[in-house]
Amino acid sequence: MSAALILDACLVLLVLAVAVWTIAARETFPAIAGFVSYGLLLAIVWVRLSSVDVALTEAAIGGGATGVLLLGAAARLTDRAGRRPAGIGLRIMAGALCLAITAALAFVILTLPDPAPTLAPQAVAGLPATGVGNPITAVLVAYRGIDTLLEKIVLLLAVIGVWCLTPDDSWGALPAPWGTARQDDAIVLLARLLAPVGVVVGVYIVWVGADDPGGAFQGGTILAAMWLLVMMAGLIAPLPATSRRLRRVLVAGPALFLAVAFAGFAMSGDFLSYPPAYAKWLIKLIEAALTLSIAAMVGVLVIGPAVRKR
């Protein structure tokens, strides 16, 4: 057993231990704290699996944005688990079922075909037609661009769904928790110092994403975090669901993507195809617009809807 494998084994055990804690902890808050560290540990797992792009996403979303969402909810909910958890019979049955599924999965994973099938050579071979150097970006925006386009619609529907949960009498009101947050000069200072740096980092991650790890989603999430930070500091007000400006930013990325996709019919014969001469620039343009929309979407999803006036 090599040293690297021992380290891998330690990491796996740690991840599993944190996962057990997250499920088993009695109180919700520590369980969610466990989940945040689970997200960060997974980011390391992704680096070990040679997926730096995924690691960036996982750190930004799994540990970051999802963690903020869950912690925010846990802080507000007053529910406690009952004295007696789910019935012992149910737990035993669920446990047996889950154990069986894990065992089946483990067996399948250990007996996957060797050599493994791979699309890597084809993905690399297609790169010149797209003009980008990062094959993951090529998959996301070119080969399987339709997934990315529909995924943006999924995000948009999630935003709509979250807004839909506004009580009728509060439609058009500001989302509460960020609007009324107590001003704290430490946070104000952090926002003033960090936000400009964060914006630069976010844009940088999108820019290099064409050729190196990074991309619209990772960069967009950082921008969203900066937006949330300056709102938390009270430096700018949040935008209500009725804000036309906000809606246009939300729609800009998907709309441009769709427009370029349809233009593909005229320019190079197929929906979502790029003429090779402009491919790189078109893709950068789409990524830039998507970044803005993603930042707005993630921000809105984390802030949540306006709550009932009291």
Binding site: L105, L112, P117, D147, L150, V154, I160, G161, L272
Partner: protein, 510 residues
């Protein structure tokens, strides 16, 4: 197969998406108009696709961006996709007409929440459905399923009442569990076969099955089991139906119609794609019988619970639980290795007829139930007395839709059940036939419970809680008539369902 007809597929997928983007960026007073304007366009595209499938007698296929699978994503339309696309645009269009007055933005007032959300989510459901019916790639289909979930769940709690919020949350948790299991299965298939494209997977699985060595790879069966269970949770097949009745009965009537008529069918459609399309001729017989057994349990259990409901909308929702059960007879009857090709084809046609006629009938029924509840101000079955005198068209629509659900001749439901029944009898699977007959009787029972008081006298001193405009009643009536008239469709037209159909049962070399 050509790229040429493919632009139609792209259009079918993108029309609702364009609608969402337009509504989000334009002023609120255009909301309903944009959505309603897109609906005839969508119907035209769906009909054009069906016409192409009909004339070419084969499926349409389009490689997005010109990237062929396994690297790219394919859209495909065969006979059943075409039928589902047309059904979808009819039901969505009817729901739009039905909801037009209810979800109108108030004039000269600030934008209201519910109308804006309703139209956006309705278009979201439409986009998700079309993506499911056209998708040729397992991961693309995962995204499509999520579109459907994210649009359907907020519709359930559009009113914001506490009980609908709980129903929506339960629905969401079931749906998320379903998607996670589905995704896990897709991941395993990619690991084993190196592609997510259903047609390529079918070819590779078949090639492997013809080899001597490991014929039944575990990866395939684990993946199939995970995906099927996940999709069953979304289809609400017994015993995973718990979320359906509160969710479908709590939504606004137009939304319930779409949820019950179409959304649960999308995941059923995917199960068929997997069991027949991905495993041509390899459909596991025991698994197919198990699915049918669950379907039979759903019919009996759902019908009995429908019989016991005190509220009309819940009764209609439990009837959906029961009617979904019939669909699952397709698996043993169309994949029976012992059956003749003709018998298998009968069962196949019967299953899809059941799906389409139930879609029309159930949409009509939920609309009628919604209108009855509006007139009376409640939907307690005990208090339905004489409602037929107030909204006769609505009650006629309810009765016609009910006739199709029961399987009374000459309705579409009758033809569907007859085809399934005769396939079951000819294949010697008579116990499924008995369940079907029993289900029809029980359906008669629960519909009688509604219609009998509705046709009775009005209580003295009764005043309506709301006036119901004729055009809304007409929408329900037209849908119900559609379900009935489906029974008159010329036999030749059923061939559409067979075009591009994967080789099943009789064609298997065994």
């Amino acid at each position: 197969m050509l790229q040429a007809g493919g632009s139609l597929l792209v259009l079918a997928l993108m029309l609702p998406v364009i609608g969402i983007l337009l509504i989000m960026s334009l002023d609120a007073r255009h909301t309903g108009k944009i959505a309603l304007a897109l609906m005839p366009a969508g119907l035209a595209v769906a009909l054009a696709i069906a016409a192409r499938v009909w004339t070419t007698q084969a499926g349409l296929e389009y490689f997005i961006g010109g990237w062929a699978p396994p690297l790219g994503v394919a859209l495909r339309a065969d006979g059943i996709s075409a039928v589902m696309l047309v059904t979808t645009s009819v039901v969505i269009g009817a729901a739009g007409l039905f909801a037009r007055a209810e979800f109108r933005q108030p004039d000269n007032q600030p934008e209201a929440r519910a109308p804006l959300m309703f139209w956006l989510l309705l278009l979201g459901i439409w986009a998700g459905l079309n993506a499911v019916f056209l998708g040729g790639d397992l991961f693309n289909l995962y995204v499509a399923l999520e579109m459907l979930t994210f649009a359907a769940v907020p519709l359930v709690c559009l009113s914001g009442k506490a009980e609908t919020l709980a129903a929506a949350l339960r629905y969401l948790l079931f749906a998320l569990l379903g998607s996670a299991l589905y995704l896990l299965g897709a991941v395993l298939l990619f690991g084993a076969y190196g592609t997510l494209d259903i047609a390529l997977l079918a070819a590779r699985i078949a090639a492997q099955a013809n080899m001597a060595s490991p014929v039944w790879p575990l990866a395939l069966w684990v993946a199939l089991a995970l995906m099927t269970v996940g999709l069953l949770a979304k289809t609400a097949l017994f015993p995973l139906h718990l979320w359906l009745p509160p969710a479908h009965s709590g939504a606004p009537a137009a939304a319930s119609a779409v949820l019950s008529a179409l959304v649960v069918k999308a995941s059923f459609f995917l199960i068929v794609r997997l069991w027949f399309g991905m495993l041509p001729g390899l459909t596991p017989w025991l698994g197919a019988q198990l699915l049918a057994a669950l379907g039979a349990a759903a019919i009996l259990f759902g019908s009995v619970l429908a019989l016991r409901q005190a509220r009309l909308k819940l009764l209609v929702a439990y009837s959906t639980v029961a009617q979904i059960g019939y669909l699952f007879f397709v698996f043993p009857l169309a994949a029976n290795p012992a059956a003749s090709t003709a018998s298998a084809a009968l069962a196949w046609t019967g299953g899809w007829m059941q799906l389409v006629s139930h879609a029309l009938a159930k949409a009509a029924m939920f609309m009628a139930a919604g209108l009855i509840a509006e007139t009376l101000g409640h939907d307690r079955i005990a208090g339905l007395g004489g409602v037929a005198r107030v909204v006769p068209i609505t009650v006629i629509a309810f009765a016609l839709a009910g006739a199709s659900l029961m399987g009374l001749p000459p309705s579409g439901g009758f033809v569907a059940k007859l085809l399934l029944l005769s396939a079951a009898v000819s294949q010697g699977l008579w116990f499924w036939a008995v369940v079907m007959l029993l289900g029809g009787l029980l359906a008669g029972g629960y519909l009688f419970r509604v219609l009998s008081p509705a046709l009775g006298p009005l209580p003295a001193g009764w005043t309506p809680a709301a006036r119901i405009p004729r055009d809304r009643q007409a929408v329900a009536l037209v849908l119900a008539l559609g379900a009935v008239l489906l029974g008159f469709a010329p036999l030749k037209s059923y061939d559409l369902l067979q075009f591009g159909r994967p080789a099943i049962a009789g064609a298997v070399t065994r």
